[in-house]
Symmetry: C2
């Protein structure tokens, strides 16, 4: 695809991406022992109180080893772009006065991805405040043949947000203004650098929710969410960003500002060009503003946790659930027994139901607490009566809901405490989903300490396998 | 947009479209008196029992006048494409044996759009059964420089489905096979020529519904729905086709088959090229197969009908409704007093509530009849108590639900009985929506008999104005 579209745009936006693509499987590896310690405002939230925040925050050593340079690890070749000169710095300073960062210490974090698997060697980071400034920057870099790497919250898991060589980092950090919010339609228009959690707070105060939620919400930028087509915890309920993102403003490589920032829920005028930018990871341009449709805030949330005798029963429970809970179903997560064992072992979280080969967490969000609890009870009766589930529990108060969510949300943390982890985030047809785990277990045998499967059904799934320490070599 | 993308594809797929675009405002005119009589299998359904079916089926004269040729009406110039020769016909006969239509009588209907505003003069219609046949046809026509016009159910309202000159019509009528349906995920994969109503029946028998519903469902093809990015009656609940269409198979102008037919709910591999074809009206290629996500069938449907004192109150009712009914809200339609007057006058449908400046129809679809009715009652109490609505009624049985829907669905029919109609289907920001009607009323004064507004809030709206007969000239 890239080769067909690339000729229409200057090459420099692509080469770092192509370089990244070469190392795609490696980028999916997580060496959990080296994970960066999230501080206030770090990738996993500022507060540390939500179970989500804890993900990945454990067992990080106080002095993480140096991350190998991407260009060395993957032997990628720098294309013949110009090198940033003193004149360039002066010119860029004129475009974003006082917001040209060249301090090596300040540049350390934006050069490394959160998983610490890739590292660039950028010597300049720019902090534009407006789309016009982004346009000026890109126009200048285009004319001077300087490579650029756009960056949002730098919380991505596949190394797409960091430079590969010495690209100029264009950070959206200061582009954090809300442009407008419409109280009737729920349409939010904001700059690309708005942090997801800040947007969530903003719209929740007005009776709406963001249509996406991620563990990294405390740091990730909405522009990055759109550029990576992030799914997340609300995917099942509110669907893909392709439906909820109504409009985008994008600055193309040559500095042209493409205004597709409509806030109409339906707009059939011409081709829907903004779709090309959703999930394109900054390769086609820099997203500078987003118009997004926020659904009304549900007033009641309930969570059920079930034990299932097999993966077939997990799938049948999903079917029954969709039928009986339909419109209030907001999450359907599963985890296998191996996950539960590790969560119990490393985090001392107790399994709330009888030991089972599989566990399912079901969340409902609706406008009537009593109705939702009643529906959930009916559903529980049905699945327990028919043997799809062997045991189940229901939580309606906030504390118990958080406890149940922690079992699912803290799996990553438990895995990271257990050893080195290779983590793959995959989409597969539902009925073949768990085959991957079984097949990997059979193939890897004793080479892997654990192979586990967990994730959201109906959207995507994570599969991780821990390797015994003896197999780990220092360059992983 | 077109001029930028066009050079990447052969010109012949574009010229008819460009020609149509010139006459866009004219295409939005409806001369209701000349509407084609829908028969069994006609554009508005086969049965005649649903209120939807009645739309447009009234007052059509038994012998409609000849439709003027598009090329004459809009003075568009035919580009130098080849003319279909006997050799071409023989070659096409080899590609789709027995499915090359050249009978002028059979070609009459596919040359004219349903609104009878445009007419082409195609002399050949092809009925491929497979994507491979479509690919062979397009490859042949590409090599021979023959113009092509793809056609689905030919139920479109803007003349996009009929040829402008003598293009070869490639009809998807025989491409009506369901490829697969997944009972757990609700993912349907089918050929582009499947009729929407047939698909609805198929998935409803399996406990699901199609994520879109249209008045034209008895005739329209799913490929055409996608090519025109149809919205329809379920837009508010299930969102846009951009979210529910998971994959497409498309044959490009040169015969290349582009397979984007994934059935994964989330697929972030590469650019999402299929999005370009959604809403592109066949200008980029012919959609030959669709993969679409069907939501579970709701077990309970309720309808409320309200009278509101002003458009501001309609909007506030919409807000309250979204908050209190949230997940079960499946339709929110409004109509003004003028619409109700015409519906009463021409169709003898009685207004079920006190006379008001505006009326609102609210539909809920959920998994628990009792719960939904209870929620609706609570909502009604709230809006009636606060003066947002001055009167209201609630229907829970099928007969009454149909009666209430008829008031909204038969507006078009009532208008057409009243005189000549200019009908515009518009998307506008919610709070400016009705200004158009007020402004038009003020501007047109006595030149228009009626200017009315109605439609779905949260998606789009229709505005129609009837002209007094004395203003009508024969060429409209």
């Amino acid at each position: 695809m890239m080769s067909r579209l690339a000729p229409r745009w200057p090459a420099w936006l692509f080469w770092w991406r192509a370089a990244c693509a070469q190392g795609v499987s490696a980028q999916q590896r997580t060496w959990a022992g080296a994970s960066r310690i999230p501080g206030p405002g770090g990738p996993w939230g500022a507060t540390g109180t939500s179970p989500l925040v804890r993900r990945g925050s454990s067992s990080a050593p106080s002095c993480a080893p140096e991350v190998m340079l991407t260009r060395e690890r993957y032997s990628v070749r720098r294309l013949p772009f110009s090198v940033v000169s003193e004149d360039d710095l002066a010119a860029l300073e004129r475009i974003v006065p006082g917001r040209v960062v060249t301090d090596p210490e300040e540049l350390e974090a934006p050069n490394v991805d959160w998983l610490r698997t890739v590292r660039g060697s950028s010597k300049v980071l720019l902090r534009p405040r407006t789309s016009q400034e982004v346009a000026h920057i890109l126009r200048y870099c285009h004319e001077r043949n300087l490579a650029v790497s756009p960056q949002g919250g730098n919380t991505g898991m596949v190394g797409g947000s960091t430079p590969v060589f010495d690209e100029i980092i264009v950070s959206t950090t200061l582009m954090n203004q809300i442009v407008s919010f419409h109280n009737v339609s729920g349409v939010l228009v904001c700059q690309a650098g708005c942090v997801l959690e800040a947007l969530s707070r903003y719209v929740e105060e007005r009776g709406f929710v963001m249509p996406l939620d991620l563990g990294a919400k405390g740091s990730c930028h909405i522009g990055g969410n759109v550029a990576t087509n992030a799914g997340g915890l609300r995917f099942l309920r509110y669907g893909s960003l392709r439906g909820t993102v109504l409009g985008l403003e994008v600055v193309l490589a040559d500095g042209t500002i493409l205004n597709c920032l409509t806030s109409l829920r339906k707009d059939n005028t011409g081709y829907d060009l903004k779709q090309l930018f959703i999930g394109s990871e900054g390769t086609l341009g820099v997203i500078t503003a987003v118009s997004i449709l926020c659904p009304p805030k549900p007033s009641a949330v309930n969570v059920a946790f079930l034990g299932c005798p097999g993966f077939a029963e997990v799938l049948q429970t999903f079917c029954t659930c969709r039928g009986m809970l339909g419109e209030i179903l907001s999450a359907f997560e599963f985890m296998d027994a191996e996950c539960m064992k590790l969560v119990g072992l490393h985090l001392r979280l107790a399994c709330p139901v009888q030991e089972s080969p599989f566990y399912v967490l079901i969340e409902t969000s609706g406008s009537g607490a009593g109705h939702d609890a009643e529906k959930l009870s009916g559903f529980l009766e049905q699945v327990l009566g028919s043997g799809l589930a062997t045991d189940g529990t229901l939580a309606t108060d906030q504390r118990r809901i958080k406890m149940l969510w922690a079992l699912r949300e803290r799996i990553t943390e438990a895995l990271s405490r257990d050893g080195y982890v290779y983590k793959y985030d995959l989409s597969l047809p539902l009925d073949r989903l768990y085959d991957l785990v079984s097949d990997l277990r059979a193939r890897l045998g004793l080479h892997a300490k654990h192979v586990v499967g967990y994730g959201h059904l109906g959207a995507q799934c994570w599969f991780s396998f821990d390797q015994p320490t003896r197999l780990i070599t220092p360059d992983l």
